[in-house]
């Protein structure tokens, strides 16, 4: 399944974003995510990585350039789980389907399916404060999965988690990617995470952000956790790190 079809799920052409305060977050950024492709974006803090996602999702607009979104349904996963604290796990997972006015029976079926996919079966009635940080993030993933998006936007979703939980969620995210074959644009600070997950790593420069390198990741899916300990993996991580350091 590594061979991505050519239709772009998302394409940025010469995108520039200036904020009203005068900061230029993005300068002539070019980026493409084909359907079925997992693109990770790394870059120094404040290089406009999150702005990419806000623009792609329509939360922000561009100052110049064009954005084409080929995907029909977007999934957006935020830095924190953003669960509603008064709703149970199942009710939180169903939120987006509810907002999209999905038929109730269909919604119920998809909630069960998504909760199972993220491994939260048995926790449907728990409230967010009763869950660990990792489990909250699983619920947040499930909430997006319910709509079965063909393009996922991830804004450093696992940045706040400890290393072990993060790696475990990386493994599971890959499993979801292999199953559902969505396209993904994944923002992260972690080079290892970027390399482990993606088909391609995009390196961005500091502010104003633009794309300075595109590094294909040659490892086949399904990827196993042990991939992280191979010399090939380490050398690719080193290559990306060096590019980042050169900035």
């Amino acid at each position: 399944m590594t061979t991505a079809t050519s239709a772009p799920a998302l394409r940025f052409s010469g995108v520039t974003k200036k904020f009203s305060g005068g900061t230029t977050a993005l300068a002539d950024a070019n980026l493409e995510v084909s359907s079925g492709e997992f693109v990770a974006v790394v870059g120094p803090s404040g290089c406009g990585k999150s702005t990419l996602l806000r623009i792609a999702s329509g939360l922000d607009d561009v100052s110049a350039g064009t954005v084409d979104v080929g995907a029909k349904q977007l999934g957006y996963v935020f830095q924190d789980a953003t669960l509603l604290p008064w709703r149970s796990v199942a009710q939180n997972v169903g939120l987006l389907a509810e907002l999209e006015k999905m038929d109730k029976a269909e919604r119920g079926r998809r909630i069960t399916e998504a909760i199972d996919l993220v491994g939260l079966t048995g926790f449907e009635k728990h409230l967010p404060h009763q869950l660990s940080g990792g489990m909250r993030m699983r619920a947040s993933l499930a909430r997006s999965l319910v709509l079965d998006p063909d393009l996922f936007l991830f804004d450093e979703p696992f940045g706040a988690l400890d290393e072990i939980t993060r790696e475990r969620l990386n493994d599971e995210l890959l499993r979801m990617f292999e199953l559902r074959q969505f396209a993904a644009l994944f923002i992260t600070h972690s080079v290892a995470e970027a390399v482990f997950l993606s088909t391609r790593v995009t390196v961005m420069s500091g502010r104003p952000g633009c794309v300075i390198a595109d590094i294909p990741v040659p490892f086949d899916y399904p990827r196993v956790p042990e991939l992280r300990y191979t010399p090939e993996f380490a050398s690719l991580c080193g290559e990306v790190s060096q590019l980042l350091r050169g900035l």
Partner: protein, 300 residues
């Protein structure tokens, strides 16, 4: 993609790891063995300390009444036993006290109910448009700071001297905390939560009903609790100015002050604070019933 695939995709080691994570969460759940012990100590400190403070206050009371005041000044603060005896254990006085309490309680609850409806309504309006907030909020502040004394002639001109003007005074005093807390609560939802709703093209009402209003509930109840105490004060202040019709605790306080009947005065004061404490506790309980399930104050 079929449904059957989804449940079985997890590699074994990841399932194991997840099981460990689940176990940790389950263990941290509501069945810790030490919990019963904690509850006892917390009950001890929650009931014990106030009782201790009450003892200190009663001691000070005796000290002021018996030592600091001579027999001619003692009417200002008669000793507690005399207050109990005259105010509460003399049947005719007691029935009068209960009657007054009924009326004051009625003014309090009507005033509080109106404050809640108007306050929450005003805050909802203000949350919907910045210009409404800019237009109304300063006047809510003005309403809170205006001296009631200045309004009494006008209130009596329009509404007479009985129940209505008393309720209006209670509303004026109790209104502001509800508006400010509710508005604060409605604006408290995370930016990313709002983004999530925006991404799915949520309309104003859905956003209000599913995000802002539930998020506001803890702050709203904090406001209700403060206003409940203020409504009691408002009712009593109202009775000071509008004495026609049924006498309330405030009416009595005013009368007994001029008659220098200290024991009766303090019996009414104690009853009024009892009413205040009761509504305060009532709203605390209500708050725990409504939001206690999910709202964790940061101290926990």
């Amino acid at each position: 993609m079929s449904t059957a695939e989804t449940g079985t995709g997890a590699p074994a080691d990841s399932q194991e790891a997840l099981a460990a994570e689940r176990a940790a969460v389950t263990a941290a759940g509501p069945s810790l063995p030490s919990r019963a012990g904690r509850r006892v100590t917390s009950l001890g400190s929650r009931a014990g300390l106030p009782v201790l403070v009450a003892g200190v206050i009663i001691g000070l009371w005796y000290l002021v009444s018996e030592v600091a005041l001579n027999q001619y000044q003692r009417f200002m603060l008669p000793p507690p036993n005399q207050v109990l005896q005259v105010g509460f254990f003399t049947w005719s006085n007691f029935t009068a006290l209960v009657g007054a309490l009924r009326w004051t309680a009625q003014v309090t609850f009507i005033g509080l109910a109106i404050s809640i409806v108007l306050g929450v309504g005003a805050a909802l309006l203000m949350s919907q448009a910045k210009w409404v907030e800019n237009a109304l909020y300063p006047w809510a502040v003005v309403l809170q700071t205006v001296p009631i004394l200045a309004l009494t002639p006008m209130l009596s001109f329009f509404f007479g001297f009985a129940l209505t003007p008393r309720v209006i005074v209670a509303v004026i005093i109790a209104f502001f905390p509800i508006v400010s807390n509710t508005l604060f609560g409605l604006q408290s939802a995370d930016r990313s939560m709002h983004d999530l709703f925006t991404l799915h093209k949520t309309g104003r009402w859905t956003r209000l009903w599913k995000l802002q209003f539930p998020a506001a509930l803890p702050a709203m109840f904090a406001g209700f609790r403060v206003s409940a105490g203020l409504a009691v004060i408002g009712a009593i202040v109202g009775e000071f100015f509008f004495k026609q019709g049924q006498p309330g605790l405030g009416t009595n306080m005013s009368v007994y002050t001029s008659l220098t009947e200290g024991a009766q005065l303090w019996a009414n004061v104690l009853t009024a604070s009892l009413l205040g404490i009761t509504v305060f506790v009532l709203f605390g309980w209500l708050s725990r019933r409504v939001v206690g399930r999910w709202y964790m104050p940061s101290s926990r």
